[in-house]
């Protein structure tokens, strides 16, 4: 038991503490909780790598100049090709604490996710008052709208159907690319045979993360064409998932895989596959146009190669005249802390100035059609011309045409197919089942 002396001293100490604490308590003036919060605008993305982080920083700088009363909180979380960010975002949305805006792929990824759940607001007024609608390509707006209301502000456009190649490897094997690119996958396979005979890998491929699906969508579009591709995703689909078109696409996919590097699944990401082309170990690599920055930029983030000499590009086989796009966009949340801050951010993201600052650094082109080409690289200038003239279709891999649940099922079916590429019929059945599970197919 405690001695009397000890308990008495403790007791007095406590009395003193009680007095001090209550004094402090009453003295502490209630801090208005919202004061600090309403000057902050929390932007959520997964742009942490070189290039993309720089682009975001440039846009933030413009924002700071235009709206000094707000501070941007750049809450970017990387990892898992965006799944970590998506997890953090999802938990916050469930808890009722949305950030002031977040990055989402324009298209079904936004619509099926956030619009259906009522977590973002339509942007009709914004589009009208800023005139944003008039500077976006007409084919784009329906793809980012639901029931005629647009729901996101696209800041950039990336192109999926680009095939990069090493001119030296091609000439050494005696392969020439027809003007405008290979007209069909059959022509491409003929070229591959020549490359193989010369001892090089024809097409380099990365790990299963997203590169396999990226290749798949390009093979499919190149086989069945733009209209039929779009027809796969309409409600109901006008292209039959169980039909001969899809079957032909799967057959081509199975065949193209025979021309890829056997260690694809061990590569750390898409960059080592692209590097195989740069190093001359492979002839071709199909990857979105973010690869341009990897090839051309200075070290340490790029390989500092010379366009047309060390590397070059052509549309993926069968896709001339087609622009397979993906777009990063920002949304207007429901119930965030600083709605005015969000509108300010969206204004900057939609502005010519903002997009011209962001895109050259990220390696993409503006979603707006009126950006100044001189600020962009040679490749991007070509892309800008194509964006306004070619047929625009959406990417599967990057969230435009299919809802995330559907895309995940396709991804699982694709990965299972990769374990045994002879099971083409099973793959097609699984794809049809994935469509049914989404509710688009009956």
């Amino acid at each position: 038991m405690m001695s009397k002396k000890l308990s008495f001293s403790l007791f007095s100490l406590l009395l003193v503490a009680v007095m001090i604490l209550s004094a402090c308590g009453t003295a502490a003036t209630p801090v208005p909780a919202t004061k600090a919060a309403s000057s902050q605008v929390e932007i959520f993305s997964w742009w942490v790598g070189p290039g993309e982080a720089d682009g975001l920083a440039a846009m933030i700088k413009i924002f700071d100049a235009k709206y000094p009363q707000y501070t941007i909180v750049n809450a970017a979380v990387a990892g898992g090709a965006g799944t970590n960010a998506k997890a953090v975002l999802a938990t916050r949305l469930q808890a009722g604490d949305p950030p002031d805006s977040w990055q989402a792929h324009a298209g079904q990824e936004t619509i099926a996710n956030y619009v259906t759940a009522g977590q973002v607001k339509p942007l009709d007024d914004f589009y009208n008052s800023t005139g944003f609608a008039s500077v976006l390509p007409k084919t784009l707006i329906p793809l980012i709208s639901k029931d005629g209301h647009p729901y996101s502000v696209p800041v950039n456009i990336h192109r999926s159907n680009v095939m990069w190649y090493n001119p030296k490897v091609l000439s050494a094997a005696g392969v020439t690319i027809p003007t405008g690119g290979f007209a069909s996958w059959t022509d491409f396979f003929a070229a591959c045979d020549k490359i193989k005979a010369a001892g090089k890998t024809c097409l380099s491929l990365g790990p299963e993360g997203f590169t396999a699906m990226h290749l798949f969508e390009n093979v499919m579009i190149g086989t069945i064409g733009a209209d039929k591709w779009t027809g796969l995703w309409t409600t109901p689909p006008t292209t039959d998932w169980t039909g001969a078109d899809v079957q032909a696409g799967i057959a081509n996919y199975a065949q193209v895989l025979t021309y890829t590097n056997s260690d694809a699944s061990t590569l750390s990401d898409w960059q080592p596959a692209s590097k195989m082309v740069a190093d001359g170990d492979a002839a071709f690599n199909i990857m979105g146009d973010w690869a341009y920055g990897y090839f051309a930029n200075a070290a340490p983030n790029g390989l500092a190669l010379t366009p047309h000499t060390d590397f070059d590009w052509t549309p993926t086989p069968g896709t001339q005249g087609i622009f397979v796009f993906l777009s990063d966009s920002f949304v207007l949340p429901v119930g965030n802390k600083n709605p005015d801050g969000t509108m300010a951010w969206l204004t900057v993201a939609a502005s010519k100035e903002g997009q011209e600052a962001f895109n050259p650094l990220k390696g993409s082109i503006c979603a707006r059609t009126d950006c100044d080409p001189s600020k962009f690289s040679e490749y991007s200038q070509d892309a800008m011309k194509d964006w306004t003239s070619e047929t625009v279709v959406g990417s599967l891999t990057h969230g435009v045409v299919a809802a995330p649940a559907w895309q995940t099922k396709i991804d699982t079916a694709l990965k299972l197919f990769l374990t045994d590429t002879s099971k083409t019929a099973d793959f097609q059945t699984a794809l049809a089942a994935a469509c049914k599970s989404d509710g688009t197919c009956k």
Partner: protein, 358 residues
């Protein structure tokens, strides 16, 4: 001693003072905010003052001179916390797993065991997961136990520099699973010919070319076995430490007595030390087992989405946060929990029984 309230005045005053302190602080904090160095500590302040309040109550309870009651009273905060944060949340997860929740808007419509049935009957990916996780768990636990025990016995021979060796074997535990997966992915790279690299290159250098292999890209299902290597690298040192502790806690007199009786070192290990290490093995199996059944970061970093190396933890993550299929994700989570329980509960029961016997 039961229900003998022994009034102790200084103690009572102390208790009351503490109760008043706690209560008044709690009350003040509900009215105003507590800002320390620009951080909002109101909630933490409330928590702490609540605990102070509770301490005061405990002092009063102590005056009842009933240790059982006091013991339970002290345990109550922990039990409440576990009840909420473990059992409450698991029940939520159970509810979701029995629902039809797909998409970002919660949907608790009851559909019974539909998710579970689909996982077991229709789902090729889940079948791969089950096979992979069983293989991983068995190999991982066995390898850690064998290697850990082996290293412990080696270090028990008191070589010079024992501390350094111990530190080397224990160090990998401090590295994050993600980094470990990345590095071992490089080491186990299966490329051949001109692109030979990693451990294969070392084998080639040592003229051990027959050892060059495909590592974790080996055809299903054996590729999964190789993913055990980084996990064992990280946790075998910890198992070794467990066994070292166990061996060294066996009194030297016991071993001396055996030696006097003419037993060889080997016999001492086999018949005296090993049986006495059973409790250590039990603890190791529990800790290693629950880690392996929930394994996630490591496989993601190593396999990068390769479905041949899929495990339930990854499937649950992808289907929940990429596919927005919360119901299926919750079902997979519940199955993971059940699998750990199935592994560990028998051991626990056996352990409880043997304890009460003593």
């Amino acid at each position: 001693m039961r229900h003998k309230f022994q009034l102790n005045l200084p103690q009572l005053i102390l208790a009351v003072a503490i109760i008043v302190l706690g209560f008044s602080t709690m009350y003040t904090l509900t009215k105003t905010q507590l800002t320390v160095f620009g951080n909002d500590f109101t909630s933490i302040g409330l928590l702490i003052s609540g605990l102070i309040f509770y301490v005061g109550i405990l002092i009063i309870v102590a005056m009842y001179q009933d240790e059982t009651v006091l013991s339970i009273a002290i345990l109550i905060p922990s039990l409440v916390a576990v009840a909420i944060f473990v059992y409450g949340f698991i029940l939520w997860s159970l509810r979701v797993s029995l629902s039809a929740w797909q998409g970002l808007r919660p949907d608790y419509t009851f559909v019974g065991l539909k998710q579970y049935i689909e996982l077991f009957s229709n789902d090729l990916r889940f079948n791969i997961d089950i096979r992979n996780t069983v293989m991983f768990t068995v190999l991982f636990i066995l390898a850690c136990l064998v290697l850990g025990l082996g290293l412990a016995i080696l270090l028990e021979q008191r070589p010079k520099g024992e501390n350094i060796f111990r530190g080397i074997f224990l160090f990998p535990m401090s590295i994050s699973f993600i980094a470990s997966g990345v590095v071992w992915g490089w080491l186990m790279n299966p490329a051949t010919g001109a692109r030979l690299t990693g451990i294969n290159l070392i084998f080639h250098f040592l003229h051990l070319d027959f050892l060059i292999g495909k590592w974790f890209t080996t055809a299903m299902p054996w590729g999964m076995a190789y993913t055990v290597i980084p996990a064992v690298w990280q946790l075998s040192g910890f198992t070794m430490a467990l066994y070292l502790g166990g061996i060294r806690s066996i009194p030297e007199e016991v071993r001396e007595a055996a030696r006097v009786d003419g037993a060889s070192e080997f016999q001492i290990y086999r018949y005296i030390i090993m049986p006495m290490l059973q409790p250590v093995t039990l603890s190791a199996v529990i800790i290693l087992g629950h880690m392996s059944l929930k394994i996630f970061d490591l496989i993601v970093a190593l396999g990068k989405g390769d479905i041949r190396l899929d495990v339930p933890g990854i499937y649950m993550w992808t289907t929940t946060f990429s596919g927005n299929n919360y119901a299926q994700g919750a079902a997979i989570g519940m199955l993971m929990l059940i699998s750990v329980a199935v592994l560990v509960v028998p051991y626990l029961i056996q352990n409880m029984r043997s304890e009460t016997k003593l």
